[in-house]
Amino acid sequence: MSYFSDIYSGIKTLLTGMSVTGKYFLHARKGAITQQYPDNRATLKMFDRFRGEVVMPHDENNEHQCTGCQKCELACPNGSIEIIWDRGIDETTGKKKKKIDQHIYHLGMCTMCGLCIEACPTDAIVWAQNFENSVYDRTKLTKVLNQPGSKVKAGIED
């Protein structure tokens, strides 16, 4: 008689489902995934893998890790990155050496694909976790990533 076993399994599976949602209901206060955004701006922390914008971290001596190899510029599918580079004389060896003048990043064109960061051999550019990117003028979306007067960290190219 599958009729009665159908009724039994029907009720059993319905109760199983209700117990699952009931557990969610009881934990809703602690486990709520909603962020009440403008209110919790001070404490809101985005997760590590969030892709906000590309930044170039500088250390306390105003030194970055970009060697100007242009791999990121080549990797970018829509030309969001432009590197203006120059040649300088290396003090220690006296040889001519490539260095970046300006690492220009067009945030307005960026699709956050992350290919530039994967391509970078020295981890000079990374993802930032900020997300409040709106500005009143489009030109403000064109950013120069290296800070003025910065230079490449010694020993990065070895």
Partner: protein
Amino acid sequence: MIRFFSITKNIHEWLFNLMPESVASVVEMILIAVVYLLIFAVAGLYLVLLERRVAAWFQLRIGPNRVGYQGLLQTMADALKLVSKELTGTEKADKFLYNLAPYFVIISSLMALSVFPFTQDFQAFDINIGLLFLIAISSIGVIGILLGGWSSNNKFALIGAMRSGVQTISYELSVGLSLLTMVLLTGSLQLSEIVEVQKGGWLIVQGHIPAVIAFMIYMIAGTAETNRAPFDLVEAESELGAGFHTEYSGMKFAYFFLAEFINMFIIAAIATTVFFGAWLSPFGITESIPILGVVWFLGKTLILVFLMMWFRWTFPRLRIDQLLTLEWKYLLPINLINIVVMAFVVWLKITI
């Protein structure tokens, strides 16, 4: 000790001293109607809010909490918005029926509210065929849905309305028969007498196994009667837009929406009255304070409303053939056997 009876009696005497008898009774009826209308318009709005908060908690969200403290004024603001909206309609709609339909739905659900015993004296209309009246009134609402779907000249609305007809006609049987099972125990259709019988113990305890089965069938069929998920084929959003009220906007839409929530309250209130002793407190703990009956009645009703919300946010929607299979193959035969079992229980006096 405050009793509703003393307050209403004072108003009653004052009215009858003020004007001739026939005018006074009409005025009294209008007053009662206005009071019920106000209470349940607000109650319906708060049920909508409750539904939204409960839904949010089931889905690990927070829900509306911006308008007023914890969002308490959210649905008031929504209602104001709906009142101020334009009433649109289709070109080739049957205008008369199209405009009439929302009133059928809302009036039938408000009429049903009049017979509930909220507490000992707080009952507008203690008719001696109370349960029959409730079952009859709750099936009038579907006429409004059918009219609305048919007259708005929209294929989605028509399909939704026809599905509603199929569903309500089928499940009406189960609602009626499961209540009939309990009538075997009470021996009366009058709601105040049904409550009187339960002074020794709620009917779900008195009738033990058949009463529990009847309660389960009633809750399933009642959820289907109100056209709520998992039986919301009538307005299946993924298939039919908004179902029978696709073409309605503004206040007319709000009537349908409010009626759905008041209907949910009615289904839960019938279950409270018939199975859980209406305004009676468990073991008579607050018997000396009759005004607390309202609190007990609303408390029990809200627990059952919550159960229906729990159903809604747990179960997936049924297909139309599954819906009919559930009713005609499972609920109805079980219900018929259950009536016989209950008859034996009452005959052999093995109630608790």
